[in-house]
């Protein structure tokens, strides 16, 4: 029995082992991102983007003479763990916390960074995150409330559709997007046909596709994670679904295209950020990312890459490296690509931390996103 107790104490002592303490001069960025679990694709891409930008900035001399240092903690796509990791990031003395991407996890961990008054970047898309009055949240992604009206308008005006079916994933992400889409569709006078929910990690989409076929609306709108989107795309082609398929961010992402193969061709959708954007900086980023990671980046990688450059741009503009001053100055400050190419797209964050920038309607052709339209920012700056 005594031995048992010794075992217990040893293991508990392990837990007490303290974390890494960095040198004073570096600017510490702590990624609390999903490297495992259902949304590991998003988290890993985001992390890769951050690392690439940090490498470049450090090689070019850093920010006001100080270099970036990054630490990545796996939030495991789990809110309870992400909260612990956000606390650890605070304990480490982070300048900024990057992530989580999972909306539920972000809500919990943002409470920790807020308490410590540390800027918290996130790619999470649920509208509620920036609506809770947390002054330290900075979103690098469009909220669903921003992007869904753009999708609905495109379906109504450009595809001349009157009715639409929806296949969505029943998670906070999917449910939030579906609710916003329904609101937008109603506003534009689109009739909703079949409203089909699916599960995270769902493998068989045959009945979902069958329902959509039987409903026979003019367009199918798909809002599931990347991996489910690819499976769904294959099933749609298998059953010979012939109506236009439209998505937002995920089904037209690089990862979904890679997994879906030819089945992705012809799918259209709205993306806030794409490596196929017709600009020189994005093209350069695309090449660098491919050279480094052997795959093309999706919108998460672009967001991750822009974060260190945004910190650099704002810090140099205000002349100091200070998390609180950075957080205050960032809001309502227009940042233009011509001055700061690393940010990849001209952007302005509002008081809530939501970004405004141009976005794109794309179509997948031969496994690549082809930009059909460039949509202007909601409030040009």
């Amino acid at each position: 029995m005594k031995k048992d107790l010794i075992h217990i104490t040893t293991v508990l002592a392990f837990a007490g082992a303290s974390a890494i303490v960095g040198a004073q001069e570096t600017i510490k960025l702590v990624n609390v991102l999903e490297l495992s679990g259902p949304i590991a694709t998003a988290g890993t891409n985001y992390r890769n983007g951050v690392e690439l930008a940090v490498k470049e900035i450090n090689a070019a001399g850093g920010v006001l003479g100080r270099k970036f240092e990054t630490v990545t903690l796996d939030g495991q796509s789990n809110a309870g763990i992400s909260k612990a990791m956000a606390q650890r990031a605070v304990d480490m003395g982070a300048f900024a916390v990057i992530g989580p991407t999972l909306s539920g996890a972000m809500v919990v961990s943002a409470a920790e960074t807020r308490r410590a008054e540390i800027p918290n970047f996130t790619g999470a898309a649920a509208a509620s995150i920036t609506q809770q009055g947390n002054p330290y949240v900075i979103r690098t992604n469009f909220t669903q409330a921003t992007s869904m009206p753009k999708v609905a308008r495109y379906i109504k005006d450009d595809l001349k559709a009157n009715s639409v079916d929806i296949i969505w994933i029943n998670t906070d992400f999917g449910k939030g997007g579906r609710d916003e889409f329904l609101r937008a569709a109603q506003k534009f006078g689109l009739k909703i046909g079949a409203d089909i929910s699916s599960d995270q990690n769902q493998v068989d989409f045959s009945s979902a596709v069958l329902k959509a076929k039987q409903s026979n609306s003019d367009v199918l709108f798909v809002y599931t994670n990347e991996e489910e989107s690819a499976r769904l795309a294959r099933e749609l082609r298998k059953q010979g679904y012939a109506k236009p398929i439209v998505g937002e961010a995920t089904i037209i992402s690089q990862k979904a295209i890679e997994l879906a193969g030819d089945a992705a061709n012809g799918i259209r959708g709205h993306v806030a950020l794409t490596v196929d954007a017709p600009t020189a900086v994005m093209k350069a980023f695309d090449e660098k990312f491919q050279r480094e990671f052997k795959v093309r980046s999706d919108h998460n990688g672009i967001q991750g890459y822009s974060v260190p450059y945004i910190i650099k741009a704002v810090s140099e503009k205000i002349g100091k490296v200070d998390p609180k001053a950075f957080n205050a100055a960032l809001r309502d400050m227009p940042l233009h690509v011509k001055d700061y190419p690393g940010i990849l797209v001209s952007v302005k964050f509002d008081k809530n931390g939501d970004p405004d920038h141009e976005s794109y309607i794309v179509e997948i052709r031969d496994g690549k996103q082809v930009v059909l339209q460039t949509l202007p920012p909601n409030n040009p700056f």
Partner: protein, 320 residues
């Protein structure tokens, strides 16, 4: 080992837990609290699976029921101490309702029946949006203030959870040494003989299952208040598997088994990946793979769990 030595050992461990927390960072205290919370649930599961021999894969469902009851009632300004018995009683009753038909089948079949219950409970948490908030979950769950003491701070909440854990542990210890506890082990080891001695098998298995469920419900209350946010994810049946793993790795049917097993399942992965020891640095990337392999090796070499290590060594070293 004498009772006095046992108590002295336990006191040393508890004192260490109290003192060590003073020197730990917020995140480590949080993980320690998470360990204590899961331990409440795995101690209950140990009663069901380890002592009464009923393989249950539904513990996370009861954990979730407790957490949702806590979230709803605490947000409605119920006092924490009133929420605890409500969660425990509801889980106990649900345990009896689920257990009554489910316990007609045993072992593997019971595992599947309880797994089915867990899946149903998960779907209810996700789809009954009006009550549970669906996939958006419930946020802003308050931490309690008891007798004028605010338990919102990380240390205060840790001491409160640790104290509660000791009380719960004490109750289970007493239960296991009562005639009831002896009846549980009797029906695990030889149900026919137990029945012939006048033990009502159905009643006692049901009781063990429902008490185990109540422990999970209590753990759920502490969990909701600890994380301050809940959504259906943590109550997926994979958590039930994790809890069963903790019981088996530690040593099922041994009182301190879950304490060790839960530490390994909850704390060890975090330690491995948070490690700053140079030769452990590669663990930051490989910790999940390492953890998986370690569990497999352990189960082959020590099927009785870590606490059977000494017996295993004695058997090897001593006369055959």
């Amino acid at each position: 080992m004498s009772a006095r030595r046992h108590l002295a050992g336990l006191a040393v461990v508890l004192a260490a837990l109290v003192i060590v927390a003073l020197f730990l960072k917020r995140s480590d205290v949080y993980l320690l609290t998470l360990w204590a919370v899961y331990l409440m649930a795995t101690m209950g599961l140990n009663l069901t699976a380890g002592y009464a021999g009923q393989m249950s894969l539904g513990q996370a469902a009861f954990f979730g029921i407790g957490a949702y009851i806590a979230a709803l009632l605490l947000k409605a300004s119920w006092p924490f101490l009133a929420v605890l018995p409500v969660a425990a009683i509801v889980c106990f009753v649900v345990g009896i309702v689920v257990g009554f038909p489910a316990l007609r089948v045993q072992h593997h079949y019971l595992a599947f029946a309880t797994l089915g219950f867990n899946v149903l409970a998960y779907l209810a948490m996700r789809n009954e949006e009006a009550i549970t908030g669906g996939t958006f979950g419930i946020s802003g769950i308050p931490r309690p203030t008891l007798f004028g003491v605010d338990l919102g701070g990380h240390l205060a909440y840790w001491y409160w959870t640790l104290g509660s854990l000791v009380v719960l542990g004490g109750l289970l210890w007493w239960l296991l040494r009562s005639p009831w506890g002896r009846a549980f082990t009797a029906l695990r080891d030889n149900p026919i003989r137990a029945e012939s001695l006048g033990i009502n098998i159905t009643a006692y298995t049901l009781l063990a299952f429902a008490i185990g469920a109540a422990c999970a419900g209590i753990a759920g209350v502490y969990y909701a208040s600890l994380v301050e946010f809940i959504e259906p994810g943590p109550f997926h049946f994979s958590t039930s598997l994790m809890m069963l793993l903790a019981v088996i790795v530690g040593g099922s049917g041994r009182f301190y088994g879950p304490a060790l097993g839960t530490a390994i399942v909850i704390l060890l992965p975090e330690f491995l990946r948070g490690s700053s020891v140079p030769w452990l640095k590669f663990m930051q990337v490989w910790y999940l793979a390492f953890f998986g392999i370690a569990v497999i090796v352990l189960m082959i070499w020590l099927p009785g769990g870590l606490l059977s290590l000494r017996e295993r060594l004695d058997r090897k070293g001593g006369p055959q």
